[in-house]
Amino acid sequence: MSLRTRMAHGLRTLLRRSVADADLFDEVDHYVAEAAAAYRAQGLTESEARRAAQAEMGARTSVRQQIRGGNWEVTVESLAVDVLRAARRLRRAPAFAIVTVITLTLGVGASTAIFSVIRPVLLQALPYPDAERLIAIADAAGPGGAPMDVTFGTYRELAARSRTLEHVAVTRAWQPTLTGNGDAERLEGQSVSASYFGVLGIAPATGRDFSDADDRPGAAPVAIIADDLWRLRFGADGNLVGRSVILDGGPVVVVGILPHGFENVWNPAAQVWRPLGYDRSLPGDGREWGHHLQLLARLAPAVDLETARAEFAAIARTPAPQFTRPQWADLRAGFAATPLQEQVTAHVKPALVAVTIATFLLLLIAIVNVVNLVLARGADRRDELATCAAFGASRLRLQTPLVAEGLLLAIVGGALGVAVAHAMVGALVTLDGFALPRVGAIRVDNSALAFAVILSGLIGTAASALPALFVSSRDNPQASGTRIVSAHQRLRGAFVVAELALAVVLLVGAGLLVRTVDRLLAVSTGFRPDGVLTLQVQASGRRLEGPEAVRRFFDDARAAVQAVPGVTSVALTSQLPLTGDADVYGVGTRTAIALPPGADAGAFRYAVTPGYFRTMGIPLRRGRDIEDRDRAGAQPVAVISASVARRRFPDRDPIGEQIRIGPADNWFTVIGVVDDVRQSSLAAASGEGVYVPKGQWRFADRAMWVVVQTAGEPAAIEPAVRRAIHAVDRNQPIFKVATMAQRVAASAGRQRFAMTALDAFAAVALVLATLGVYGLLSGRVIQRTREIAVRSAIGATRSNIVDLVLRQAGGLAMRGILLGVVTAMLANRGLATLLFEVSPLDGGTYASVVAVLLLAAAIGALLPAWRAARIAPAAALQSP
């Protein structure tokens, strides 16, 4: 109540000032009139009474000051006056104001944007209760101890034996097709053990969680869906829970809907979950012993990760008789446990950290630049301020206008910076190939705004307080002026050196990343991406129940796409390079080969149709291609990659030899050898690959990639290809459409992200450093006008004078480069994990950066040098 009336009164006074003033003056006048009347009643004359009353009251305006003095709006008013004056002063120095605001905008904008990204991704806990207790556990049996998916059997053993874990769950990807309610839609989802949501500490908002009984073979099919799916696909139907929906052609009862805003960090796109339903009796030949599950767990309260790790190691070391372990899941390599947060952010962390450091450097440059500009301005206004000081203006009174100026610039720069941050964050979250986790939580929110406000406020105050200190430390403009100027100059020189050094650090980082991206894109992928369009088709539903129906559908689809005009060739494959597919099987040969321990990670298994190598442009090195005659029932054949030929058949021609892939009886005769392809990523070494005819694989893959080669622009034929496939069966969803060239580009996404940011920052840094050199030297030229005039009067040539200025620039540049190179050698170590075939100390990069910086310093010095050379001795010496 009281605060509200106070605010209301203040606002009224501010907004309707003349009315408020008139009101106050009327009251004062009335008071004086009444008092005068009282004095008259005591016997004073009219004029005496009036004078006495007036004297009691005092002057109207000072009474107004007294009455209003304690009100908050007065502070606002005087601040507003100061800011208005500051704005007027800045309008007279537009170059200073504009450069400062731009600098601040870039500095505040970039740091607010990166803050908005790293806060949810790296700084905040995951959006679950006690999220720090969540961990991901893998089997460390991959090559070189690399983490590997676990088996269901391993999960059962760990869940039963561990005492450090409160909940344990396993999950695998699941992509069902939703039909019967609009268009067929392929959903992203997960098959999970019943404990999955328990591990996360999340319960459905409506309905129930999975029960143990749901998670058994043959249990009635049930599903839990995300709030988004419920709203978008089912119109937020309040009666959905308990009813059936059609997933993959069969009815599934929806038992629960997750809370609004639930974030599934493990797989952010997932919208539907079903129980895994694996057999707990662990049949030896079933999927229960396949390495394809991801294990998530919640540590028991007050258990730290180290204790848990020690326990996992002990469990792995000591098999218990009641838990059988097949040889391929013997846990001899132990477990690898990491915090869940680390697990989901690991792929973006290096790039984000690099960009955060770069942003910090940019911000430093921005601050240095602003301080420098303000210092230069302070030097220009030296006489004005010194005069004020000489007349007795207090230190505070001298500082106020400077602080007001700094704050005004900071406010404008900060506001523009927030706008820039908005744009940058919008661009970041949609950046191709840089899958940021927790994208939904990334936005310029209140805390980011607070960050921007505090940051700009601090910069503004710091920048403006500094020159004010210099000014007020002097009382006599004549006596100490020179000393102050030289202190000023030294400080500004140091700042310019700092700017140059920071620019070197950023330029080196940017240069290293540019080289990395170049190298990545120059990697021999093993295939030719030009003109290739790829998309995935999922065969699902009742009509495609049996393997024969699935095979027929894909054959028909392939024939239909082949008939599309403009298509030169088409093929199908079960997995495609650079898509994240990792379908790996164990490989064997008739004669045992001794591979180094940990070196046999199995091979990628591709089930392909004839024409795959031609369509993808993968060169066939030996033997023959897969042909139509290699169908089911014919002799099983396989094409192997060059690395398989080299490693598994080192002493003989592989053509005609036998190779096993997967189960013990799965033998194929090698008919050809093709080049290795980069399957996982451009940076990862090519794995081994075994290609078998689609019709000869032991089961029919339900998700197949359609690979289309066209003479024209590959993206342009997408609609025709879609139509052709849907003409065969319009219920089969098509997704993950992209050209091969896009996939290659996206595979360098992390590096490209960091490179783009660092390129931009380095460019800004370079421009600012050049401006810094320019500003400093032109100031010096002006101060040394007389000295230069004397020099030329006694015979210095123009080139002597130009040399003089350039030598100063050279001195600055050399100091900046020296400092910068040392810093860069330390700082850019942080980039090492992002670099590819480029050393963090790459000599070429450093050399070109040094050259660029010298050039920039020279450019900055050019104009001041020219001015210095044009100083006319006579005129300069005659001027006062």
Binding site: T5, Y31, E34
Partner: protein, 111 residues
């Protein structure tokens, strides 16, 4: 202005204004006159301090004001005590009595 007058005791002006207004709405000069009369001329209020205090009390929500005609046909700003103002007066009066009593007792004991 006169030296024989005493300034209002520090901190009691607000309370005295509220007390003066508890009987009837008054304008600024009316309040000053009322305070002077009630104290038998002991307290003389500085007009600036009075108007400042009125402004402050109104912002606190203890007073409301409106312009009205005085008996001698001048326009004047009349202040009226609000309900919260009345509560404030009661609280301050109780507080004052407690303090004044204590001070009086102490002085008596000393003598």
């Amino acid at each position: 202005m006169s030296d024989s007058n005493t300034d209002v005791i520090q901190g009691t002006l607000d309370m005295l204004i509220l007390k003066a207004l508890s009987l009837e709405p008054l304008h600024g000069f009316g309040i000053a006159r009322r305070l002077e009369q009630q104290s038998d001329g002991v307290f003389k209020v500085n007009p600036g301090s009075l108007l400042t205090a009125l402004n402050r009390l109104e912002r606190n929500g203890w007073l409301t004001s409106e312009w009205a005609d005085t008996p001698n046909a001048r326009r004047a700003k009349f202040y009226r005590l609000t309900r919260t103002g009345l509560k404030q007066l009661e609280a301050e009066t109780a507080d004052w009595s407690r303090r004044a009593g204590a001070v009086t007792r102490m002085l008596a004991a000393e003598g």
